[in-house]
């Protein structure tokens, strides 16, 4: 895209992103399915638009960087649902806390172990092990455990998509019916997308998921520097 100034390409990238996201919200309202998950749907739309406009990913990078600067403040804002729903969460503190710890450590070990069995490179093993923390935190943990931040982000969002679309299906079939348990599992494993999915089920479920997303990420960031090196 040398014929257009970079600022125009960047503006186009931002507008495309906003448009694709808005479209995904409308699509999800009309046809709710795993395929209309905002991240999956928007990503497909944006890649299609960029490719057909002849824009490469490196041309899109300034737009990406501008949008992702908001991830930091957005993570800080997670304290808001944490604080608002502290009573609902404190009532089930012990079961939720144990479930959170077991879930986030379990998924980390399972991912690292299976990745190791497939003979992935150390960088790939580290990147895949920390995939259940929410993106802004995961990319920071990635630097600490010598993982690849963009790759980690990729695994995080893929995990979010998998958990948010198939998690409720899986829990329906395994008798996990209580809102607190469902919200906890979705938030712990599938962070933001899991929380969004949990909120559509029930308010308590969504609140617990929001708290679990924050605490699960904290749990992963504290445990990863000790657990990840065991598998690399």
């Amino acid at each position: 895209m040398t014929q257009f100034p970079m600022i125009a390409v960047t503006a186009f990238g931002i507008l495309t992103t906003i448009g694709a996201y808005a479209l995904s919200l409308l699509a999800r309202q009309r046809y709710s399915s795993p395929m209309t998950t905002p991240v999956l749907f928007s990503t497909i739309v944006i890649i299609a638009v960029l490719l057909s406009a002849g824009i490469s990913f490196s041309d899109y990078k300034p737009a990406r960087d501008l949008i992702t600067t908001m991830l930091g403040p957005a993570t800080v804002a997670l304290a808001v649902p944490l604080y608002k729903n502290r009573e609902a969460f404190l009532r089930h503190l012990v079961p939720a806390g144990v479930g959170l710890l077991v879930g986030s450590l379990g998924t980390m070990i399972a991912a690292a172990l299976t990745a190791r069995l497939f003979n992935f490179s150390p960088e790939l093993v580290s990147s895949i092990a920390i995939k259940s923390a929410t993106v802004p935190i995961a990319v920071e943990i990635a630097k600490i455990v010598h993982a690849n931040p963009p790759l980690t982000a990729l695994f995080v969002v893929t995990t979010g998509m998998i958990g948010a679309s198939f998690g409720p299906w899986l829990m329906d079939r395994t008798g996990i019916t209580r809102p607190v348990a469902r919200g906890l599992a979705l938030g712990t494993i599938s962070h933001g997308q899991g929380t969004a999915q949990a909120a559509t089920e029930n308010e308590l479920c969504g609140a617990v998921a929001g708290v679990a997303m924050g605490l699960g990420a904290m749990c992963t960031s504290l445990a990863a520097p000790w657990i990840v090196p065991l598998f690399v």
Binding site: Y21, A77, F118, G167, A185, L186, I189
Partner: protein, 160 residues
């Protein structure tokens, strides 16, 4: 025409959250005015959240703690709310909006999949197996453990 205006109204509801009433779609102009009124507080709240984030990043840089800076910002905000230094209403509009649209902020990161073709060509299926297996395992583990420990449900199913 009515259907279209309802759709726009429901879209406004999705994107703006509870901050805007959409009971009567014909009041579009009023809603726009109310939204314009919210812009200054949103900017202030955003500045506050960014400042906390920057403070967290700075603390991590100074102390070399193995914790992400934004997580420190989050804990700090929680502490400020719990101590009553910051009122929930000061930060709630922007906080809830950002969390509602958290997905938007990581969409650009997944667009990076564009360049991940070679990685998936080399490891595609095994990566998907690892991700699906570990996510399913974690969900079952977290869900089962907490459900078994909770015991009898205190809430009827499907009700908050």
């Amino acid at each position: 025409m009515r259907r279209a205006s309802e759709r726009i109204a429901s879209f406004a509801k999705i994107s703006l959250g509870h901050s805007v009433s959409v009971d009567r779609p014909s009041e579009a102009a009023q809603r726009v005015a109310r939204f314009a009124h919210m812009i200054p507080p949103i900017i202030l709240q955003l500045a506050g959240l960014s400042a906390l984030n920057a403070a967290g990043v700075w603390i991590v840089a100074e102390t070399a703690l193995p914790i992400p800076g934004n997580l420190i910002g989050m804990v700090a905000l929680y502490a400020l709310l719990a101590l009553g230094v910051v009122k929930l209403c000061w930060i709630e509009t922007t906080g809830s909006f950002l969390i509602k649209h958290l997905a938007f902020f990581f969409v650009p990161i997944t667009v990076g999949l564009m360049d991940a073709g070679s990685l998936f060509a080399a490891h595609g299926l095994s990566i998907v197996v690892v991700l699906v297996a570990s996510a399913g395992f974690g969900i079952l583990l977290a869900g089962w453990t907490s459900q078994c420990l909770i015991g009898k449900p205190r809430y009827p199913e499907g009700k908050p």
